[in-house]
Amino acid sequence: MSKVTLPDISLHEYTLDNLRLLGKLRQEHFQTKSEICVERAKYMTEYLRDKANHKESYALQRARAVEYFLAQKAPVFFDDNLLAGSTTTKPMGAPLYPEFFAQTIWPELDTISKRKKNPQSISEDDANLLNLNIFPYWIERSILEQAREEFGADVRLFEKFVYFIASKAGTISHTVPDYRVVVNKGINYLVNLAKAGEEKLAKKPSRTKEEQESLNFYQAVQISLHGMLTYAANLSKHAAELASKEKDVARKKLYTDMAEICRNVPANPAKTFREALNAIWIVQVCILAESSNMAMSPGRLDQILYPFYAKDIAEKRLTVAEAIELVGCFWLKLSDNVIMVPEVSEELFGGAGNVPAVTVGGVDETGADAVNDLTYIMLRATELLRTRDPNLNARYYPGVNSKDYRNRVSEVIANTKAVPAFYNDIEAIKTLMNQGLPLDHARDYAVVGCVELASCGRCYTASSSIILNLVTPFELALYNGRSFNNNTLVTKETGDPATFTSYNQFLQAYETQLKYVMENAINLNNKLGIAHQKYLPTPLLSAIFQGPLEKGKDLIEGGALYNSSGATHIGFADVVDSLSAIEELVYIEKEYTMKDLLAALRADFKGYDRLRQYLLNKAPKYGTDDQIALKNSNWLVHFLFNIYNHTKNYRGGNYWPSFWTMTNHAGFGRLSGALPNGRHAYQPFASGITPESGAAGVLTTALKSVGGLNPMFIPGGYALNLKFTSLANQTNPKERHEDLEKFGGYLEGYFASGGLHVQFNILSYEKLMDAKANPEKDPQLMVRVSGYSAYFNDLNDLMKDELISRTQYNLQTGKAVYYLKG
């Protein structure tokens, strides 16, 4: 039976004019500047330094620290949002995780409030607290230091910055907890499960080492969940206090309602839609007390919350307008925190939010159409608010989900110009099954962070473990193991390509260099993982997952049902095109020698215009039907998969390769030399798995060549970024519908050819150039970067230019509209 009962799925009658609360909250959101919040860092440090029993296991010490923090955590209410709880003590706060990378802002404590790009305010008192009280405690205790000193992690390549990022030094997070158990069973249920696990083991007259660790784990779970319950109780108490003092009738009711809600959830099962939303929100806040605020993704909220919505609607406790308002409130809560970003990262990689992904649509575990009224309500809330977070993703199963749904998602993309992304259920499910998931678990996938795939509450994906620059090993192959800008040997010599007599020789050199960097990254990730196991277990998050409580094992020890580590790659199109250029230009057509090419690259093409034009316009390009480019793109995908997917991580799972780049393709591009695809030195690479700008003149061919890269070999997911000049902007409903059908046609064709993911910017070159020149004109302009959304004005110039220059397609003709750089 269809769960779509709305008479108009567009919900256009509901606007920010008649949803006044949402309009007001949205306006306040965009007026709020981000601030550093020291609350978490302060209480975690206070506990671990001054109060912890250091004879206890680290698991217990950490759980108690989290409990201590949550018990002290200020129950603040900033505005009229209908949901209680906040990530930090600031309306828009950047929480600090000194065990990770918080100390990178130490040099900037006097200047971070005033820096040019994305300042993050901090008071003098808080800066002094960090400088004199908090950071000194952690100077030897950051996880990277622990891994280096105690576990012998080799960080030399990592510290050169340009080869790969070992993300575990800064975060794991990147997962989808099991929020179903939160709303349906409540936290007390989980506490009781952990208690039962503890009691069973405590009864044993003697325990093995593993059993003792399980006992500690069950205790740690109870302790950290107790902290969560204390926070919820404090929220309730404070809301009641505010209600008792409040004169305004509406606000008094708001506080009274929140006091009652927090008395019930998340301790107990939710009774209403609002309770369910607030339960999830409070748990999300508490998860971020323990894990960093990076891509902690709520998952399939339209599925999890639908029973509560449907019941409330049927019993006339809720209207559609109220549901949109509540979802909007939740979206704004998800946006109440940002990541702390030091200056050098802002320079290279700036603009990202905290990227909590929400996934709607697709099929349910039986394969039936899962789209329901709440799917459309969430789409409408997204369309109205146009905030960069949450990162909304729309699953689409061709032939099962309706074309009305597909067109409605397309319409939201047209109106927001950027969100949501589309996912092909057929390929995503097959890809997950290929990694060992049964069909029903694979069908219940959600998106993590940018584009990664995970079965909700079952897969511990750690999907950003490695961010690897594919171009630097390519440069090492070009320059015999040396970096492009100095002559020091970085890895190992693989020969001077000027002496190579075949393409295969060059390819082997690249394979050797790439494997070297990959092995380095994998080894460091595994060492960091072991350091996390000892020092940073996550009992609170583990409780909100299927597997750990049954196994008596933290997620970090392999407690989840499915364990993997993600490795994403930057510079895919640039490497493929550079390989193809060498193969054809040097070894097939013999138009130039390798020596000529190397000289041109070292000179950044100064004095080599003819050669560069040849490389840009005649050499094979990925995104076309050129056979060499097709061969090389598939080769690279398979090469990476064959190594990663047969390599075990520290939890016993495999590595899942992916191709999403955030803004790293601009950052890494800035650090790399000229390439045989014709790219100048220090210019951005192409984003995600997208063909290079200007390379793919025909949309259908581009879609076919990306679709042909079988996603089964890219289990971590990928980001295909497309730009259209316009979509469905006609006022005539018939023409508008025709546009949506045409757009849908491209999508169906792409998915039929095997495409997994696609996301859009519906913006012309001119509009983006104008936005860059006149930032005050549209300060809230949202763009799709590579896997997530950002506000255009927050991006550095390099990233803005990269977005401007991305290939733009005309919807009607399917042809590229070429960009001529001034």
Partner: protein, 145 residues
């Protein structure tokens, strides 16, 4: 926060030298000037000295051509600077020239150049570098530079 110590002749000279560094192409003798300014600030200002209370660390700065070898030892609220190779350090910073080191530590106009050119390389615990960065930049901040 009292900044009276900045009026002392030693600090005025240090400020003048640092200003010249920021304005010059080559930032000649930057490390020497910075460490000298830091040393005076620790001696003259109790607040600044708080930064190295209970702080025990060894920094080793060396130039690529090995002509410069400076070891800075923080201990007992003191700062000792010696022109020698450090056998053991919390962090070793190898730099191509004064300009590169200046850009790297003070994140001037072009923060990325030292990374791009690999003209400054670090080995060891980077958190110590973060602290040194704070000490350096805070000094500049106090000087109004």
């Amino acid at each position: 926060m009292s900044l009276e110590f900045l009026l002392k002749p030693e600090m005025a000279l240090a400020k003048h030298q640092l200003l010249k560094c920021t304005e010059s192409e080559l930032a000649e003798d930057f490390l020497k000037i910075l460490l000298n300014a830091m040393s005076w600030a620790f001696r003259l200002d109790e607040n600044y000295r708080q930064n190295i209370k209970d702080f025990n660390a060894v920094y080793y700065f060396t130039s690529v051509d090995k002509s410069i070898n400076v070891t800075v030892h923080y201990h007992d609220s003191h700062m000792d600077v010696k022109h020698e190779v450090a056998t053991k350090s919390n962090i070793k910073i190898t730099f191509k020239d004064d300009k590169a080191l200046f850009q790297f530590i003070l994140s001037g106009q072009d923060l990325l150049s030292p990374i791009l050119n690999q003209s400054v390389m670090c080995e060891g615990n980077l958190n110590y570098l973060n602290k040194f960065g704070y000490l350096s930049k805070h000094l500049m901040h106090m000087f109004g530079l």
